[in-house]
Amino acid sequence: MSYQGKFRVWRGDDSGGALEDFTVEVNEGEVVLDIIHRLQATQAPDLAVRWNCKAGKCGSCSAEINGRPRLLCMTRMSVFQESETITVTPMRTFPIIRDLVTDVSFNYTKAREVPSFAPPKDLAPGEYRMQQVDVERSQEFRKCIECFLCQNTCHVVRDHEENKEAFSGPRFLMRVAELEMHPLDTADRVDQAQDDHGLGYCNITKCCSEVCPEHIHITDNALIPMKERVADRKYDPVVWLGNKLFRRS
């Protein structure tokens, strides 16, 4: 069951660009990345697209399909009507390199700003012991494939370039939460989340969770629990008093 599908693909670089129309063969069982590859092979050999595993695990082929942030390799053609024109554009939040390829180094900069795992000083590698129930919250966040679709869709930086300095984005606030909830991490992540990574910018509109291809509950399980911990520390006089009275750290 093949048909000729109508596509509009953004072509260009940082000096300018536009949507170009193509008609490409679509076969049963294919995903959008297959079509982009066929387009490269038959009509636009210089079309730039970043991809790697084609299994939704490497996080390379992030783009926007009909305006929605998605992985090219995990978007089946069968979800579209045969008569539909499918628009494929690069991620909007990051600087363009060429065609569908963006420069995602903003994310690597933010990743480096998160202090690494800090186990107790008297615990040597190999001596780590922890209960499964203590570590499984952090394990959910380890499913992240770093496709940066959440970073791309978050309106805090998508619509406001000027916020990029102060706001690390859902992926790295989730990384802070992962470490904060880790039973062996000793660093103080709560003030960091609010002061260094801009947790207060998040208005929990949940787009990060909506676009996550790993279906991680970023907002409910990472961002909101971190906001509650920040509230404990900074905005809750009862918790502050309890900590003083019972000498909790």
Binding site: N66, G67, T87, T89, D159, C202, K206, E210, V230
Partner: protein
Amino acid sequence: MARAEIAARTLRTDRWWLPPLTTFVGLLLISIYAAFRTFQGDYYWVDQYHYLTPMYSPCLTEECVPAASHFGQWFPALPGFLTPPLLIIPFLLGFRITCYYYRKAYYRAAWASPPACAVAEPHSKYTGETRFPLIAQNLHRYFFYAASLLLLVNIYDAVSAFSTGLGLGNIILLVNVSLLAAYTLSCHSCRHIAGGRLKHFSKHPVRYWMWTQISKLNNRHMQLAWASLIFVCLTDLYVALVASGTISDLRFIN
């Protein structure tokens, strides 16, 4: 380097505007109804069957019908057009306004920040919840405490109404407090207080169990938020209709 030059505000082809529009209309209608009933100041108590609408509970001023003031009349009658619910509504409204689900709902529907995912917002500047007034959203847990107390009052009202027998109104009051209890317990602050703030679940098995149960409810927080909100209005409407004599209560016993 610059971003890709794409002029369109969004390239989404689905009806992305429908959920925020539905939310906006829903919240607007409920607000209008709640405001009307608050300032109506009547038809909140069915003396024959001891039905008290949750919107007027607890009824704490001297203008309340004495039998409806289950916990006494602490305050003198309010002046002018002010009515007894105005003493409790700030707490209930505060709980809903600072709720993590409702924040998402009205930030999207009423403030378009953003209207939908990957749809550009119209504002030129954005500071989120980093400064006044939105930094006050961090007070959610205090509204949770207040709402929990008011929930206990509502439960008392619903249970005490059974003293007159059993009617459809009793069932409605019971379903109402069940939904309110589920919504209140599923709150993110409740989840945090119950166990979410712990670093070592294994050292606190009871709190871990509570956290896992609340987490299950929390997955349905949005649905519970809407169900409880709509049902409070329906409960109030039923009590108002019975209290005004427009309809009579369907009785099963007595």
